[in-house]
Subunit: 148 residues, 2 copies
Amino acid sequence: MTALAKLERVMPIGALAERTGVKVETIRYYEQVGLLPPPERSEGNQRRYGRRHAERLAFIKHARDLGFAVDNIRTLLRLSDTPGIACDEAHAISVAHLEEVRDKIARLRSLEKELERIATTCSGGVAACDCAIIEALADHGQCSHAHH
Amino acid sequence: MTALAKLERVMPIGALAERTGVKVETIRYYEQVGLLPPPERSEGNQRRYGRRHAERLAFIKHARDLGFAVDNIRTLLRLSDTPGIACDEAHAISVAHLEEVRDKIARLRSLEKELERIATTCSGGVAACDCAIIEALADHGQCSHAHH
DNA sequence: ATCTGAAGCTTTAGTAACTATAGCTTTGGA
DNA sequence: TCCAAAGCTATAGTTACTAAAGCTTCAGAT
């Protein structure tokens, strides 16, 4: 058996972290909140991971990168653990999340416009303003953006 | 003196909250973290606000709505308290924040694309997939998006 | 003057998703 | 055998609030 193949079976937490790009502390945290099942331990009580764990953690990381909440990931994992059953729920979660993301984008765009206006009014010169940014913040009247 | 004019001087916290759209608890929180100066108190130890406080709180709210961090707002308030001095700093904060916002928008757009792809692959039918969403999350290989 | 319900008070804990620290033990190669 | 790197647990800190418990004050009606 090669060293690599052995690593596949008994990775310590640091190797798993490096391989998945998830920090050691975060891995322990995921275990604590029940996303990642507790792995075997070495004689000295250190965690030893296998390929299953690596795959599951990759799933989690990917979902987190896509902005899914930990709670939703728990559901998605449960669904992926029971194959064949309805993916309706997975679909619903994804669609809801997509909507959230679109919403967030829209809100940020409106902020962007407003900030652009504010930040360019005062170019940062010493004498030019006193101070347009501060005034813009103080006086809501100039503000174009709708509901807060 | 009208009732309204009197309210301007001795608003209780609830009136200030209603007037500014900031929750009572949040107002107390802003006082605690030093954004809002401690107001006078009634004989029975209740907070009594005046117009100054209302203005300052409006400033804070507006800045928060624009997504400025509390820490940056503290700086902006300090700048607005010492008029005439350099607005360079205010400008720098705004520009940095604008960049952050743009960055966030860009990242969310890429998420949006990816989620769109994932969510539409499986339309939620019972038999159609098993399950494309789950598989997409498990298999990073299909993923178009760049760095995580 | 008294009653009462709404509003206010402080303190503490909870939220999301980690991150960091302290103080200790284990591991694995020279 | 030695030792530095890596791992362990438990606890606290982060951001910007929000909520709850258990009390006190306020202001209008009686």
